[in-house]
Symmetry: none
Subunit: 254 residues, 2 copies
DNA sequence: GATTTTTTCTTTCAACTGCTAACATACCCC
DNA sequence: GGGGTATGTTAGCAGTTGAAAGAAAAAATC
């Protein structure tokens, strides 16, 4: 086994389990503990790990303003559950709008067995994901590339969104809160998402359970502006009552 | 066995197994380890491998199975030479237009040390490549995703291109021929490229040497519509004379 | 709370393996 | 034959590893 391979495997394990133990790794890879420590040193220098007595813990990249590729691995299971629920909501021939988020990538992937969809998006990743489907109409809004994201923003993007009227918009966000509404990391994004909301009839929010009670910087809309909320786990009873009260459908996994 | 054959076999093995070991390859092909190392050097220069102590690991292309990943291997050396020449033509602060091509990806990569560029493109790959630069204005034209390509086409794309006026356009094509002019594979692409040509002052064609005397389906423009041709190898004397005669600058490698 | 014991960490060293660079040789194509 | 490329050889250098010893941290004991 090459040294780099071992280091990468340790990193993978670290990302899955959030922590690693020197003695375990030493046994697992059949190398001395010193070698493992040296690997952890490197991972620490690279910013992935933080060494502790007996092992190391994962450095959680606060997802506020991180490049896209780094954020990808969080709560994959949840995003898959959400994607499967959304898949049942979409019919052949639908016109949908999707925003830039990891969840959105999972969703369009789950939709690939549909026919004749029209997808409007400002997400580069969604375009890449859909570059191999046939018979669909995949439309990019255009716009300015937001630094360190794979998303298009700005006036051109808004203009692009406004020139289409769709059946459904599938939105993501950084936070959902009864008082503060639906919020996102920065104004560029919330602007685009606002425009998307106004360009489609049915407004669906797709968020994993960790986003509840979170509040981020820039407001997109009120919770009551939504028609439906899709999430991976059953929300708290207070939320379910709130949704029922306001006439918002709520679907969740399990 | 020819050297190239061996190199390609190593690349295949690398893509299958994600890693290769110098000692194994040396035994497998019955050549010295130094020869293997030299092969790995080349693969590293071409961007496929990353050498490590004892072997090399595969450089994972950000977007693993792009439909056109096959095209990428062709004449990488030539594209790099072209990119280096173009790099010297572009100044800080320039507004440029680039089309979707592998060459374009190399070019924008070579430009990353420039400051304050504005790039207009309908290539998804160029956007991905530029997602990590800071201080630039990277603008996507928007448009419809062309099936099995990572390129935006159609009326929306044309509209997007027409709304900007740039200093330089860097164009690629499938064929360049004195009689038939500059041609490309399909009408969608040639439409977009026509629009790009009309949106910039200086019109630069970046083509590797294999495209000379080739004719493809859809005409973009006449050779005389260009201001400059950049290629990797010195073109035939007939071409050099033709360029001189028509007042078209021609730059080439070596 | 202080002392002892245990565990883990850091540093240093030596052995080993693999790497780089320079040169020599063989081969091919013109 | 001669220039260029591909390959092999060599020697000195660099990276990787494990062992050992002392330092530091945590746990156990009094």
């Amino acid at each position: 086994m090459l040294a780099v391979e071992r280091k990468n495997l340790i990193l993978e394990r670290l990302q899955e389990q959030k922590r690693v133990v020197v003695s375990e790794l030493s046994e697992l890879f059949d190398v001395s503990e010193e070698t493992i420590r040296r690997d952890l040193d490197k991972l620490e220098k690279e910013g992935f790990a933080s060494k502790t007595y007996g092992g190391a813990v994962l450095v959680e990249n606060n997802n506020t303003d991180m490049p896209f590729s780094v954020r990808q691995k969080r709560n994959i299971q949840g995003k898959k559950i959400i994607a499967d629920i959304i898949e049942e909501l979409i019919q052949d021939g639908d016109h949908i709008v999707v925003d830039p988020s990891t969840t959105a990538v999972f969703i369009v992937n789950a939709l690939k067995n549909k026919k004749d969809l029209t997808v409007v998006t400002n997400s580069i990743e969604v375009l890449v994901e859909l570059s191999d489907v046939s018979g669909w109409d995949v439309i990019s809004t255009g716009g300015t590339l937001k630094e360190n994201y794979l998303a298009l923003v700005g006036p051109k993007a808004l203009e692009g969104i406004h020139s289409f009227n769709s059946d459904k918009v599938i939105l993501s966000c950084k936070g959902i809160d009864m008082g503060k509404g639906i919020t996102d990391a920065n104004e560029m994004f919330s602007q685009v998402k606002k425009a998307m909301l106004s360009s489609a009839k049915q407004k669906i929010l797709a968020v994993d359970s960790t986003k509840f009670e979170q509040v981020a910087f820039s407001k997109i809309c009120d919770v009551t502006d939504l028609d439906m909320v899709v999430t991976d786990k059953k929300p708290a009873d207070a939320w379910l009552e709130y949704f029922k009260d306001k006439g918002i459908a709520c679907l969740y996994g399990e």
